[in-house]
């Protein structure tokens, strides 16, 4: 039965088929470690994680739109809210909040107080420049790009570096006009 109206992130999270939480966390950790072994430079790992996230983001958006039943968001502000409240809950199982809007509504922060990716993780001294969760910034960037919003994303706070939360700053660079290749056939 197709549900009527938008569904909450909780409801979707409860219904989708999920892998075991420890498997998810440990696999992500093993991938990051493998990238460090292969690429050696922390900066390169940050880039690679972001790129991987981007590739996931541009695919996740379809699943997100299909499962969440949210209607097309009217502006950046609404989109950011939906990503934080529904998107993060749906795919990561945690709720994020949106704060720190600037005056013209083109820059905000997504704040995560809880993040299953970092359970068990302690950065060694040699990896202090690593943005361990950089995949998340890529996912958000990729997903937003698929709904015609080009953004720049950077970490403001990171619990692995001793901060009290994770904070992603999302800056809207430009909104691409609505002629994106959303063809039903092909």
């Amino acid at each position: 039965m197709p549900p009527v109206g938008p569904r909450s992130g909780d409801a979707i999270f409860a219904n989708v088929e999920r892998v075991n939480a420890e498997l998810f966390t440990l696999t992500y950790g093993a991938i990051v470690r493998q990238l460090l072994t292969d690429l050696e430079e922390v900066e390169e790992v940050n880039k690679q994680l972001d790129q991987m996230g981007y590739n996931i983001g541009i695919r996740l958006i379809d699943e997100f739109l299909a499962k969440s039943n949210v209607s097309r968001c009217v502006d950046f502000k609404e989109t950011a809210e939906v990503i934080a409240k529904v998107g993060f809950k749906m795919f990561l199982g945690v709720t994020a909040s949106v704060t720190n809007w600037d005056a013209d509504g083109t820059c905000c922060s997504i704040v995560l107080e809880d993040n299953p990716l970092v359970d068990f993780v302690e950065l060694p001294d040699t990896c202090q420049g690593l943005y361990y969760c950089n995949i998340l910034s890529g996912v958000v960037r990729g997903a937003l790009e698929m709904v015609s919003m080009k953004t720049e994303i950077s970490w403001i706070r990171d619990m692995l570096r001793g901060d009290d939360a994770f904070e992603l700053q999302v800056k809207l660079l430009k909104q691409i006009p609505e002629e994106y290749p959303y063809k039903d056939d092909e």
Binding site: E22, Q34, P181
Partner: protein, 155 residues
């Protein structure tokens, strides 16, 4: 959740790396899932643990069939292996992509099941190694969605 995709989106990561990633995960999980149980008495005991408890934790089901030649080779068959059955039966997985990605998706469709199998083999190998059993693990996906894992214990 969507951890499968994390590496599925990264076909450049060669099979050996996927195997290594699985190995680390299996190594860690075997410590966790054997926490409250007595030590295993022999290889069969440990293999049974993989078939029952370990598999249940990961896939919410047990291995369906276990065979052995009694000379150190074990064949573990899952009649509906979740990671590959999902791939082959879920059309949305590769649909709805914009054109730029169509080609990448095609490549991926070929590679994904293999990547999942390399990962699974790594997990099994890592878990058994940590339990003191040196072995080689390979997968036989010729009867999808059933999948067999062959464990050869090193003498």
């Amino acid at each position: 959740m969507y951890c499968n995709r994390l590496y599925a989106n990264k076909p450049e990561l060669a099979a050996s790396r996927i195997d290594a990633i699985g190995y680390q995960v299996g190594h860690q999980l075997s410590e966790r899932y054997t926490m409250e149980r007595p030590r295993f008495t022999d290889h069969l005991d440990a293999i049974k643990f993989i078939c029952k408890d370990f598999w249940s934790e990961l896939f919410k089901k047990q291995i369906d069939n276990l065979k052995t030649n009694h000379r150190g080779t074990f064949v573990l068959q899952d009649n509906r292996f979740r990671w590959v059955s999902r791939m082959s039966l879920d059309p949305s997985e590769n649909g709805d992509l914009s054109q730029e990605n169509a080609e990448a998706a095609e490549n991926k469709a070929v590679q994904e099941p293999n990547m999942h199998l390399h990962f699974s083999c790594g997990v099994i190998k890592g878990a058994l190694h940590n339990l003191g059993i040196a072995c080689a693990v390979s997968a036989d996906p010729s009867q999808l969605p059933a999948c067999s894992f062959v464990v050869r214990i090193k003498p």
